[in-house]
Amino acid sequence: MNEFDYQQLDEIIHSRIRLAIMAVLISVDEAEFTFLRDKINATDGNLSTHLKKLDEAGYIAVNKSFESRKPVSRYLITQKGRKAFEMYVEHLEKLIKK
């Protein structure tokens, strides 16, 4: 095996949109769906799909509530997600240093 094995990269995070979601969520305590959508410049459907993947992997958690009778979803990174993100960045740094 090479010093750096690209297969070590987390496939869940290794997508531009999911990486952006993780990078935003690791920087804030909590973010609303519409905020993530505007920040990442994604469509509602596309963002929902990627958020679902991250949620299923246990990397993010969602708090759903109602405000003025409208459903509001707020996302936050989990401990597992934080660790996975740090590992991902570590792998990238290893690749650069190689």
Binding site: R16, A23, D29
Partner: protein, 202 residues
């Protein structure tokens, strides 16, 4: 994945993280709310201390105390509501809250403990408040990413210098005017901007 892509990926992550860390929810509501309370108290103090129009001078500190407690209750309500409804919760937002809370307590100490104990003459309370406010605006503008808010600090400090050098009853009116110009109007601008931002996101 080659080295270039990895570098691009790292740069992308850094940029997103830096942009997100700076984000803070600024709706200006507390600027307006506190601005109105303090302006009313200052005008009341001016007419009571100078012309006894609104009652005895001895009541002035109690009126201030009443309004500051009222202000504190209102602020707690705003913070609770913001905590529930803000689009993001960030470290920058928490830092900002702590700065204003810390400075607010400092101002209460100066005005009430300093004033009641006689350590600080009443006429110097406004310039001291103005100095504290200048510091808070300077930091807040930096955290909001709005330079114009930081620049307001210069006017707070300039006003403080004038009030220290030329003390007198007029400082109540000058301070009230400064609060309208440097706090209530900026608060309205921040409120309008936040409304526009929310409308764009819907």
């Amino acid at each position: 994945m080659d080295e270039l892509t990895a570098q691009e990926e790292i740069a992308f992550i850094k940029k997103v993280m830096q942009d997100s860390r700076k984000l803070v929810y600024a709706d200006g509501k507390e600027f307006i709310y506190w601005g109105i309370i303090i302006t009313v108290c200052l005008i009341y103090t001016y007419f009571t201390a100078g012309y006894h129009v609104t009652g005895s001078v001895n009541v002035v500190p109690l009126v201030w105390l009443f309004f500051i407690v009222l202000g504190g209750i209102g602020s707690a309500f705003f913070i609770k509501k913001r905590y529930k409804t803000a689009r993001i919760k960030s470290l920058a937002g928490q830092v900002l809250e702590k700065i204003w809370l810390g400075n607010g307590i400092g101002m209460i100490m100066v005005a009430f403990v300093g004033g009641f104990s006689g350590a600080i003459h009443g006429v110097y309370i406004s310039p001291l408040m103005s100095s504290f406010l200048g510091g808070s605006y300077y930091i807040s503008g930096f955290i909001y990413g709005k330079k114009w808010v930081s620049y307001l600090a210069v006017f707070w400090w300039l006003g403080a210098a004038i009030m220290f050098i030329f003390p007198g009853l007029y400082v109540c009116l000058l301070m009230a005017a400064m609060i309208i110009l440097l706090q209530i109007i900026p608060g309205i601008i921040l409120y309008r901007d936040s409304k526009q931002e929310i409308a764009k996101s819907k």
